[in-house]
């Protein structure tokens, strides 16, 4: 076993909100052509037939307002550009049309093609180039938050393609329940930001197993004290609200929340781990986004292993059933560890959110049969901790 895996004791996943790969990291292609980002010539037609090219004009806030539609029918339009024939080809040509549908404002609809330059995202861009960036990490469903986050927790959404409440079906269990029920038992926690932000995993986990949860303050304390669980899932702040000591700015990067606040939050999670040398040497941190948020990406989502569930036409809103046999749109994903070679670009492999419980299960629990077909088929990522000697050159972020 590589020394990085011999030393690995903790896996931490930070899941942000609603930004596509090209929007956040596509500009890195200019620095490193191995990164499957933007050449600057990618385009979509607008509703007048004009060609709208991608442009490096993304702003931190007040640009993607209203929130771009990312529910199942809208994402279907974004991927297939309204082609409803059978079979049909994903061409990623419907983003501008989809955004136009919300305000019927042609100039505004072009903003869905905007992307950030690396200078505007010093944290995510630096981590992507210093550690491992995934060219092919896709959201699990061409749809919204709740069903996509379900794949990170359960390896399936139990047939759900929307934001509605879903219920866990036997025999599948969350990765947290698998961990604490193992023999010998492992430890796992979901760290939500604070009680006013709470968690997205309410109905199944928070309601019935509050012992699985803790706050972000506790995460910081656990990092410092060396008490981090084997597996940690961190949720950002989902709202602007008054906290106990002042204003809390949403850090999830969900449009129209401020992207810089999310950068600070990512840096905070990274710093908390890195500032404890023992923890830094024994932790892998995955930073990933739940879905693309309706924002342009140029890579067609690939077909995938069907999940054993079928969403009916009334549920998808497209007139078509969906067998969970195609992934959602590509999202940013970065793996951070001092055992990852600098400048790793993960190419030629496909990951999705079911890769998270698949990886955690494989590393901590080994063989585990009661998992969804999608999770069983999902690629895992700890092989990227391949260095024979630990690095000592990771970046430091100043956040005060």
């Amino acid at each position: 076993m590589p020394p990085g895996l011999d030393n690995l004791k903790h896996i931490v996943v930070l899941m942000m909100e609603n930004r596509s790969f090209d929007h956040m990291l596509g500009s890195l292609k200019a620095q490193d052509p191995r990164i499957d980002g933007l050449t600057g010539n990618e385009s979509n037609p607008d509703t007048t037939g004009a060609t709208i090219k991608v442009q490096p004009q993304a702003e931190f806030q007040s640009q993607l307002d209203p929130d771009p539609d990312h529910h199942f029918p809208a994402v279907d339009l974004q991927i297939f550009n309204g082609d409803n024939s059978d079979p049909r080809v994903a061409n990623m040509q419907g983003f501008v049309k989809s955004y136009f549908n919300q305000q019927h404002d042609v100039p505004h609809s072009a903003k869905i093609m905007y992307y950030f330059t690396p200078e505007k995202l010093p944290v995510l861009s630096t981590l992507a180039t210093e550690f491992a960036v995934f060219n092919g990490w896709f959201s699990s469903i061409p749809g919204p938050t709740v069903c996509n986050r379900a794949f990170a927790h359960y390896g399936t959404s139990f047939g759900q393609v929307s934001m509605d409440i879903f219920y866990v079906l036997e025999p599948y269990k969350s990765i947290y329940e698998r961990m604490i029920a193992a023999n010998p038992a492992h430890t796992a926690k979901i760290y939500y930001y604070d009680q006013a932000s709470s968690t997205i995993e309410i109905v199944n986990l928070l309601q019935h197993q509050p012992n699985l949860f803790a706050t972000y303050d506790q995460f910081l304390a656990d990092c410092k004290a060396g008490r981090l669980p084997d597996y940690s899932f961190v949720e950002p702040n989902y709202s602007d609200h008054d906290g106990d000591n002042g204003e809390e700015v949403a850090s999830d990067q969900h449009p129209d929340h401020n992207v810089q606040a999310g950068e600070l939050f990512i840096a905070s999670v990274y710093n908390a781990i890195k500032q404890n040398p023992t923890l830094w040497a024994s932790t892998a941190l995955l930073i990933v986004y739940d879905e693309h948020g309706g924002i342009h990406d140029h890579v067609p989502p690939p077909a995938c292993m069907p999940d054993g569930f079928v969403a009916q036409p009334n549920d998808t809103g497209t007139g078509r059933a969906f067998a969970f046999d195609r992934l959602g749109i590509r999202v940013p994903a970065v793996l951070v560890s001092p055992w990852v070679p600098k400048g790793t670009v993960v190419s030629g492999r496909t990951f999705e959110h079911a890769s998270i419980p698949a990886t955690v299960t494989k590393f901590f629990l080994g063989d585990y049969d009661q998992r969804s077909p999608r999770e069983k088929a999902a690629d895992t990522f700890l092989d990227l901790l391949s260095l024979p000697v630990m690095r000592t050159d990771g970046p430091d972020f100043q956040t005060d």
């Binding site: 997205i200 949860f213 990092c223 000591n245 050159d393």
Partner: protein, 101 residues
Amino acid sequence: MAVIKVPKPPQSAFDKNRPVSALLRNQILHLHEVERKFPPSRHSGVYINDIKTEGEAAAYIRKVTARLHPQGAKPATFDIAAAGETRSKSRTKRKPTGKKS
């Protein structure tokens, strides 16, 4: 590698009067579904259709989450500040401005 200074968002980034997003609206609905199972004495008393802003959503979410997970309100059993990674250093928090929602 040089230390990278991470810019803070401007003061104007904070807007608790921003209309609730679909994400927050669904989070409210999920919490409301759970709250309905509480005995009446533990209900929040909030009529969720009146929730229009992020600040109002957060107030409701805090109330129900506190009932589901009261441990989330407890101070840490050790000194977080002494532990090094303080909230004020690491997160985008500001002093109260007295703005009303």
